[in-house]
């Protein structure tokens, strides 16, 4: 994989995650697609297993730095780990699924984005809910949070239908030319 192109794409997706997500928000709910997760799924779909897991860990760590958590003290805190672990597990799930699917089909990308985002969000929420017992994290209702996060997963899948083909065109620059052209060999 071309790491320089990947870093540029990660930078762009992180910018979209932070700056553009609220334009796609549904109502007042925290329902909006995750662009970083779409990139993660795309890389996990085409890269070597070790690379995919490394990308999962690094993009997850990036999300940990992007998202802050309100605390009872009135300040916000940064937690490192929940998203890193969630995204690593999401990448591992995609690695397991990809051999069973037609990778070039946009629906595959959409389905895997929904599944991977759901897995990452469930892991994050589980860690936060556990930490809320001994840390001053404000987590009003884990149940309503779970539904919103699952909704986000579905929404990410829908948006991946549009973003996925755009990423597909960048595959040769990312170094996925052989894989994308000879899909059967690496499937």
């Amino acid at each position: 994989m071309n790491w320089l192109i990947f870093a540029l794409l990660a930078w762009l997706m992180a910018g979209m995650e932070l700056g553009l997500r609220d334009a796609l928000q549904i109502g007042n709910l925290a329902l909006a697609p995750s662009f970083v997760m779409i990139l993660l799924v795309f890389v996990a779909l085409w890269a070597r297993p070790q690379t995919a897991l490394g990308v999962g860990l690094s993009l997850g760590a990036l999300l940990d730095l992007l998202y802050v958590l309100p605390t009872q003290t009135g300040e916000t805190a940064v937690l490192m780990g929940p998203w890193a672990l969630g995204c690593t597990l999401a990448a591992y799930t995609v690695l397991n699924f990809r051999a069973l699917m037609f990778r070039k089909n946009p629906l595959t990308m959409a389905f895997l984005c929904a599944v991977a985002t759901a897995i990452a969000n469930v892991i994050v929420l589980a860690i936060l809910a556990l930490r809320a017992f001994y840390d001053p994290i404000l987590l009003p209702s884990a149940t309503s949070e779970l539904w919103q996060r699952l909704g986000t997963a579905v929404y990410t899948g829908v948006v991946a239908l549009a973003v996925g083909p755009a990423l597909q065109t960048l595959a040769p620059w990312l170094g996925f030319r052989r894989q994308t052209q000879l899909g059967g060999r690496f499937a």
Binding site: G15, A23, A30, G60, A61, V68
Partner: protein, 304 residues
């Protein structure tokens, strides 16, 4: 024994172990992690700022304000400015009276707090935590005691600054349920002409964010009878920084019955969606006695 080479593949296991450890360690031992957010945001801000501007253009936060012509909008801004200035002056008179009393009794009093204003564009929003990030940080003098007001209406509170990085700051929006403390005490001031008599009997009410962009609080039925939709709720809460006092939290939307007949539930809503503002003006408290500290930094507050 063969020496193991340090490769990314070999590092993956320890990295996952470290993340596992950090994910469960109590926050007091992992607070240093927050330092890394500053450099990360410095790198991401140049791309997310134009995207946030595009987002604000696609879904503007000021849509709730209604359609006014330019003159009406300007007059409304002037009215808000002078009303807030009057309320602040009235509060300042009260504070000076207390200072005089303290001086007469020989009690020491703290230095006067001035407010420095600094314009900042929105870098992005975190929907999950109800915060927005703006492109000004500690290098620009922002501190956690600062508060943000909407750039389109400098009398409207957006929220307190809860985290300050080198080049960016995080603002917790006033409408988020996890705002702490989440009870906001306000003075409900009638719309239209403001007289000292009307101000003297203006009801006070504590509001709590509901989660749908509004804030709600209970008010005695007698006081509730004096308010009407459109009245402004000005922050008057000692638990908030002095730079936030007498800023507009929202406008009364409706007053509804509760299970208790002696109380009414009053709902207020900010004129803007604080999550979608194009930019903010940061009100930074400063004890610097230099006259320059009082001067507006980037934005003149008074509408012309």
């Amino acid at each position: 024994m063969a020496r193991r080479r340090l490769t990314p593949v070999n590092l993956f296991g320890p990295a996952v172990g470290l993340m596992l450890l950090l994910a469960f360690l109590p926050m007091r031992w992992t607070s240093w992690v927050g330092w890394f957010r500053g450099p990360a945001m410095t790198i991401i801000a140049p791309i997310s700022t134009p995207l946030a501007a595009l987002s604000s253009w696609l879904r503007p936060g000021e849509g709730r304000r209604g359609v006014d012509d330019a003159d009406a909008s300007q007059l409304r801004a002037q009215l808000e400015f002078y009303k807030a200035e009057y309320l602040r002056a009235e509060q300042q008179v009260e504070q000076l009276r207390l200072v005089i009393e303290a001086l007469q009794e020989g009690v020491a009093y703290g230095p006067a707090v001035r407010v420095r204003r600094l314009e900042a564009s929105r870098v992005g929003a975190d929907l999950g935590s109800g915060t927005i990030t703006v492109a000004r940080g500690s290098v620009h003098g922002v501190s956690v005691n600062s508060v943000a007001v909407a750039i389109q209406a400098p009398q409207h509170l957006v929220g307190p600054v809860t985290d300050v990085g080198p080049t960016v700051s995080t603002i917790h929006t006033i409408t988020d349920r996890r705002l702490s403390p989440n009870l906001v005490e306000t003075l409900l001031v009638p719309s239209g002409t403001l007289s000292p008599e009307a101000l003297a009997i203006a009801p006070r009410c504590q509001f709590r964010p509901v989660g749908d962009g509004s804030l709600a609080g209970e008010l005695g039925a007698e006081d509730a009878a004096r308010i009407k939709p459109g009245d402004s709720a000005f922050l008057d809460d000692p638990s908030w920084p002095s730079s936030a006092q007498r800023l507009i939290v929202g406008r009364v939307v409706r007053s509804e019955d509760t299970e208790r007949p002696l109380f009414k539930r009053v709902v207020i809503r900010p004129d803007f969606d604080p999550m979608r503002v194009r930019g903010v003006v940061l009100r930074i408290p400063s004890t610097d006695p230099a006259p320059a500290a009082e001067a507006p930094a980037s934005t003149p507050e008074a509408p012309r």
